[in-house]
Symmetry: C2
Subunit: 286 residues, 2 copies
């Protein structure tokens, strides 16, 4: 069992250890009063932070979309690595969560709040092998809102995830484990915490971030592995009809790596267990 590690990053960039069981956040922090901040979750397997640079880059991109002060990625990288060094025991799989908020409301100067929180993860074997039950839910947006209405923050990984959590509760009400959001114009978007990968006519396909989804760090690593083995990948709009007709489907995320979709809206989905096993193995071995 790995004890959680909490490191606070102050506005000057100083990293300090803190007690994760003690309160650390002000009731005036806009992170809690307005969900006004961004985050990342990074898998740590065998003591290695996975896709650390893509996660840091995405943190900075999300921050820019929210007009937050530019995060010092050298400091955040240092905090992630230090949290792993400080772990009293390295469980096979950990997660490091990075949280960066706008800070105390009404502060005279911009003083964002930041922390890095490392904790034990795992228990993903069942999802990675037996797969997950997924339902499609309407995200309510057209697929072009990233460009027409940037204030909707699609493509930013914000702390305002109440809708994502509500969608997962709706999935549970329908007897499912997870969700694939679709746009009002019938385009496949993403999961509340994951990237969709569809095997279509022998090509691994995912939704491009131009359609208002988060760039997937785990999906990118999976695509790199597929390509290294001679496979084909593509970023393009996937229709809901294509989703239902796919050879196989996966949801990719930092904790689970990839989980095969076993049922979609209550209907069985063909699975490719050998491809899944090879993908999980490659992703864990990064």
């Amino acid at each position: 069992m790995t004890s959680p590690v909490l490191l606070i990053i102050d506005p000057a960039g100083t990293i300090a250890t803190a007690d994760p069981d003690a309160p650390q956040v002000s009731v005036l922090d806009l992170g809690v009063t307005r969900g006004d901040g961004v985050f990342e979750s990074i898998g740590v397997v065998g003591g290695r932070a996975q896709a650390l640079e893509p996660h840091l880059t995405r943190l900075a991109r999300s921050a820019a979309m929210l007009d937050l002060p530019v995060p010092d990625l050298d400091v955040w990288r240092e905090a992630v690595l230090r949290s792993i060094e400080l772990a009293d025991d390295t469980a096979p799989e950990l997660l490091v969560k990075l949280v960066y908020t706008r800070g105390i409301e009404g502060s005279a100067s911009a003083a964002p709040t930041g922390w890095v929180h490392l904790f034990e993860a795992g228990g993903f074997d069942e999802e990675r092998t037996a797969g997950i039950a997924v339902v499609t839910l309407d995200r309510g947006y057209r697929s072009d809102v990233r460009d027409t209405s940037p204030w909707l923050l699609q493509g930013a990984k914000t702390l305002s995830y109440a809708v994502n959590k509500a969608a997962l509760r709706e999935a549970a009400r329908r007897g499912a484990d997870d969700v694939i959001f679709v746009s009002t114009d019938g385009i496949v978007l993403e999961g509340p915490n994951s990237t969709v990968i569809a095997l279509l006519d022998g090509v691994y396909v995912t939704t491009p971030d131009s359609l208002g989804v988060l760039e997937g760090t785990t999906q990118a690593a999976f695509f790199a592995d597929v390509e290294s083995r001679g496979g084909s990948t593509a970023y393009r709009a996937i229709t809901v009809d294509e989703l239902h007709a796919a050879t196989a489907l996966w949801l990719a995320s930092s904790g689970r790596q990839i989980a095969p979709v076993a049922t979609l809206d209550g209907e069985p989905v063909a699975q490719e267990p050998a491809l899944t096993a090879a993908g999980v193995e490659a992703l864990l071995a990064r």
Copy 2:
């Protein structure tokens, strides 16, 4: 100057004073990691909490939409009243914020986090008299999403307000003070923190909550005052064209009470200073 008062409500319903300048929230609290909670802001004028019961009712309704444990409104009412009693000096205008989150992630039992935070408000005179510059922004949703997609939580006052804050920054970029969200099908919705009131053909009109907007507590009090003086009010869908042709427009919220819209998308809006003054006076005298 009134010193802030913070009261923490524990899961058992016990109310305890706490230091508002000290950290009080865990980094594991879903309120901050996921914006997973609800809130209310109640105006306190001359020591009286305004529209206390409608605010408590709305807190419970928002909580229900998020499947949070049912809040004990007797405890919340007591906390609001006690925070006012504890104020060391009663400034003319205060605000009490109520925050209710899903609590610590991974807790064995549901143990929501709750607090009541009273602080001095004011400085609204300019907005109440000279008025505010407002821009319309596309909310990205159809006006029927409350019914078709309840997981989008439209009509709940959640902590996930990053989009509301981003919309206000977009307004500032356009040289404006505030926003009126409109639906993709051309219906007037609400402000990021306010209710829209339009004077149309002698009738005060606002958007009904069936169109996915928050029920307005200040707007309801304003309508009650208008009706008590023989005026006409209505809840119905307002089109964007009607908005631009209105006799006058106001945004209603707990802090400002009502603020007249001076310009809409850069164009001057007719104002009714006598109606505004009478409305503000009645709302402050509640």
